[in-house]
């Protein structure tokens, strides 16, 4: 018998395979979303969680380049801070528990992405005009969000090191922050607008537009 699973791939080939798999998952999720009833925010969030978890694991070979920060930012804009925090926690815990390693840092990752989601929610008026996402502004905020997330996660070293280590640790990680920021800008440029359109189809009616009383017959 041949051992068909003994093929060894180079790191580049593995990355190419992972990108191909992620593209397949994205296509399947895109098709799946089109069959969802509109106004299904939790079903939509579930699909986004699957996308976030898959992308985080499959793009792990790339240094700090993955779309989760962009994802929670856009979810914060359309769905609000609390749902973005829920999504952040699910993605951080699940991807770490399945593949990347779970530990105290998971909490800091969830907090970091939760903070990014809250930022998106609080800047929603600035980052959206009506139904349209302001992609240029969002790119700028996503780059800043990379530093917000990375520096929040960096605080986890205080569990095991003195505060004097924070500055050298942050200095040492600045190149990885730049990878994250540049990656976020690219993900925003290519994915944020279609993602925003998909999410918008499942957003509930904003409270400001909802009627407070049922009209009598």
């Amino acid at each position: 018998m041949y051992d068909y699973h003994s093929i060894s791939l180079s790191s580049f080939e593995m990355l190419a395979l992972n990108v191909l798999l992620l593209s397949l998952i994205m296509l399947a999720l895109y098709k799946g979303e089109s069959r969802l009833d509109s106004d299904s925010p939790w079903a939509m969030l579930s699909l986004l969680a699957v996308f976030g978890i898959s992308s985080r694991i499959l793009l792990d070979p790339l240094p700090n380049i993955q779309p989760v920060t962009m994802l929670v930012l856009v979810v914060g804009i359309y769905f609000g801070g609390w749902r973005a925090i829920a999504l952040a926690g699910v993605i951080a815990w699940t991807s770490n528990a399945i593949a990347l390693g779970h530990g105290p840092w998971t909490l800091f990752q969830a907090l970091g992405w939760g903070a990014v989601g809250l930022l998106g929610a609080s800047l929603s008026g600035f980052l959206r005009e009506g139904d349209r996402l302001m992609v240029g502004r969002l790119a700028f905020v996503s780059a800043a969000s990379a530093f917000l997330f990375d520096w929040t996660v960096s605080l986890s070293i205080l569990l095991d090191a003195s505060t004097s280590m924070i500055i050298p640790y942050l200095i040492n990680g600045l190149a990885f922050d730049l990878y994250h920021a540049a990656g976020n800008v690219a993900f925003v440029a290519w994915m944020a607008a279609p993602l925003g359109d998909m999410i918008l189809r499942h957003s509930e009616i904003p409270a400001s537009e909802a009627v407070s009383e049922v009209a009598p017959n």
């Binding site: 992609v135 240029g136 790119a139 640790y169 200095i171 600045l174 440029a189």
Partner: protein, 183 residues
């Protein structure tokens, strides 16, 4: 905007991927230097001060402080002397085990208060900020010898500070030392 952003974002990502390893090497060197400076600045001080802020005043050989004339007295954050290091290069006192000070001026004034007045500081505020001329009763202008000028020189983590005490930004674990320099 978004039409330009797509190719622009790929160019940015490509540039970062190319340049980041070079940036990373430089940053790693800086981080290592920072840690080494910070750690070596604590040499000769109590171990419990590692990672905490320290303020020292070292007096010249012929103008030693009446209270700290032998070795360097280590004073804890409560003001209690922890001991004297006779091997330290100079005589004087250090107040250490401090945390949370973000400015050099703030650290100096608090450490001075902890030392109970024996390291009292007099300074003039000029165009360039506070200029310290007297510490522990020793006015640098009164120091005489085979030199033209003497002044209180500020060291930050083992190196001469590039800024005055009024502009010095402190991090956790930083050590500042005043000592007399001459020219």
């Amino acid at each position: 905007m978004s039409d330009n952003l797509k190719p622009g974002s790929l160019l940015l990502l490509f540039a970062v991927i190319i340049l980041a390893p070079i940036i990373q090497d430089r940053l790693s060197e800086e981080a290592v230097k920072y840690v080494q400076d910070n750690a070596s600045a604590h040499n000769g001080m109590p171990n419990e001060w590692d990672g905490k802020q320290v303020y020292c005043v070292l007096f010249p050989e012929y103008f030693s402080h009446s209270e700290y004339s032998s070795g360097v007295t280590m004073i804890g954050p409560s003001g209690s002397p922890l001991g004297v290091n006779d091997q330290y290069n100079g005589t004087g006192a250090c107040v250490g085990g401090l945390v949370g000070f973000s400015s050099g001026m703030e650290l100096m004034l608090n450490a001075t208060e902890i030392a109970g007045g024996s390291l009292s500081v007099d300074y003039d505020v000029g165009e360039w900020g506070p200029y310290v001329h007297t510490i522990g009763g020793l006015n640098a202008d009164n120091i005489t010898g085979d030199f033209n000028w003497a002044w209180w020189s500020l060291e930050h983590n083992g190196a001469v500070s590039m800024v005055g005490i009024g502009d010095l930004v402190m991090s956790e674990g930083d050590v500042i030392i005043w000592r007399i320099s001459t020219s």
